[in-house]
């Protein structure tokens, strides 16, 4: 059984149909990259999987649990950690508390255990020295790395990454992508919305191209940048447009 099953999902914002009878499955492993022009429903799909947007029709099952049932959301969100385009480090606490709050409050983890785990992940994202820092003492790239570490604190089965480098300059983008590359190599399952094709080429196992709320193609990385690009004029145009 797939970890995430998106079944005939339709999502509308007013008259605008963002996801149109959309279906796709995601397995427990690998890095899936969702690409496509802006406004095609990529971010909305991730938000629907995480239960942040209510779907109008269809269903999404995460490990067999439906997002349409509010009671499942807590478990679904534990299964799928999410990091957003706009970084949110809670400003009323330092980095360490940002990381430990959810396992302490939600998983009833002891403070000492949570802090050990937080330090492990801070070290992993290269920010071990920043545990006492506040959000305004961190660069955008550092904040995103902390947001990734915070999502990992709940030991999710998959990470949903919604254009997490789009608000960063190239240097910070590289910092964050390096972390994701390392995580991918360690086998962390990820669903990424990104326009960073270098990242997709480096770590993606599967690429979904979306347009107009529909799935245009769902292929392996090699096929996408190889035969599909050559055969599909639209994809070739899109890739050329973003400088690939």
């Amino acid at each position: 059984m797939a970890m995430i099953e998106v079944k005939n999902v339709t999502k509308q914002f007013g008259d605008l149909t963002v996801l149109d009878n959309f279906s796709v499955d995601f397995d427990h492993s690998g890095v899936t990259v969702l690409i496509g022009p802006s406004g095609t429903g990529k971010s909305t799909l991730l938000r629907c999987i995480n239960g942040l947007e209510k779907i109008d029709e269809g269903d999404i099952l995460v490990d067999g649990l439906s997002v349409n049932n509010k009671k499942n959301l807590k478990q679904i969100r534990k299964t799928c950690g999410m990091v957003f385009q706009q970084t949110v480090i809670f400003p009323h606490m330092n980095v360490l508390d940002n990381l430990t709050m959810s396992p302490i409050k939600l998983l009833r983890m002891s403070k000492a255990e949570a802090e050990d785990k937080a330090r492990y992940y801070l070290d992993k994202v290269g920010l071990a020295s920043k545990e006492k820092s506040r959000h305004n003492e961190l660069s955008g790239g550092e904040q995103q790395r902390i947001a990734i570490a915070r999502a990992l604190m709940m030991s999710p089965e998959a990470l949903l990454l919604d254009e997490i480098t789009s608000a960063l300059d190239p240097e910070m983008t590289r910092e964050v992508l390096n972390i994701l590359v390392n995580l991918a190599k360690e086998g962390v399952c990820m669903l990424c919305v990104t326009h960073e094709m270098s990242f997709a080429k480096e770590v993606a196992s599967r690429i979904l191209f979306m347009e107009g709320g529909k799935l245009v193609c769902d292929v392996s990385k090699d096929d996408f940048f190889g035969s599909v690009r050559e055969e599909n004029e639209r994809i070739n145009k899109f890739l050329s447009f973003i400088g690939e």
Partner: protein
């Protein structure tokens, strides 16, 4: 003019001033707590998605802000006994002032709540927090820090407003001073002393609140 503070040597007047100070502190303390809690409840109601809550919250604030406090406290003290609801002057003052200050506290807290971006909610939900946990662990700690300064201003106004409670026979600092003045007829000395006392108390509160604000201030 020669100042005469000999009345301060009279133990009866000192006891009266002590009683007045104690009543002022009691009224302030309870109004601070109840006024804050009521303000918080109505702020959450005003931000609620449920329309009837928003309407009740808006009416509460508008009604209290658009009616004089003196009329409100007279209504509680002289009006409600007609319905058989009678409380002591101090209790009436606490109820009336708590309700009155809840309106301005509501607006201060609501401004704090509105400063919390939708992204914070999304992030907390995505971490697995439910709505109540999100409000408790994320939204309120942020919004109350944002609202701290206006809440302190409201608190200072509350202390100043307690001086009107003598109008329903409460022996607070103002009431005690009025009684003493009635007996010794030294209005300049007595009210000057009262001004200095309020000034010292509120200056102390301002200094403490600035120190707290410095510790808890956040940049959003």
């Amino acid at each position: 003019m020669k100042l005469n503070y000999r009345f301060l040597k009279n133990p009866q007047y000192i006891a009266l001033l002590k009683e007045g100070a104690l009543n002022t502190l009691i009224i302030t303390f309870f109004c601070l707590i109840f006024g804050f809690l009521l303000g918080l409840i109505f702020a959450l109601m005003r931000q609620s998605k449920v329309k009837i809550f928003r309407i009740i919250g808006a009416f509460w604030v508008d009604f209290l802000r658009n009616t004089p406090f003196l009329v409100q406290i007279f209504f509680f003290y002289y009006g409600l006994p007609v319905l058989g609801i009678q409380t002591s002057p101090v209790i009436t003052s606490i109820i009336a002032l708590s309700i009155n200050i809840s309106a301005v506290n509501c607006e201060a807290i609501r401004a704090g709540l509105m400063a919390v971006k939708k992204d914070y909610f999304d992030c907390a939900y995505a971490l697995g927090f439910d709505k109540i946990q999100t409000i408790r662990y994320v939204v309120l700690p942020i919004s109350l820090r944002v609202a701290f300064k206006p809440l302190v201003n409201n608190f200072i106004n509350l202390i100043l407003t307690t001086s009107t409670c003598f109008s329903i026979t409460v022996v607070d600092l103002m009431g005690a001073s009025k009684i003493i003045n009635g007996r010794v007829d030294r209005p300049f000395e007595i009210y000057m002393m009262l001004l200095v006392m309020y000034f010292c108390l509120l200056t102390l509160i301002s200094i403490i609140s600035k120190a707290i604000d410095k510790r808890i201030a956040i940049k959003l």
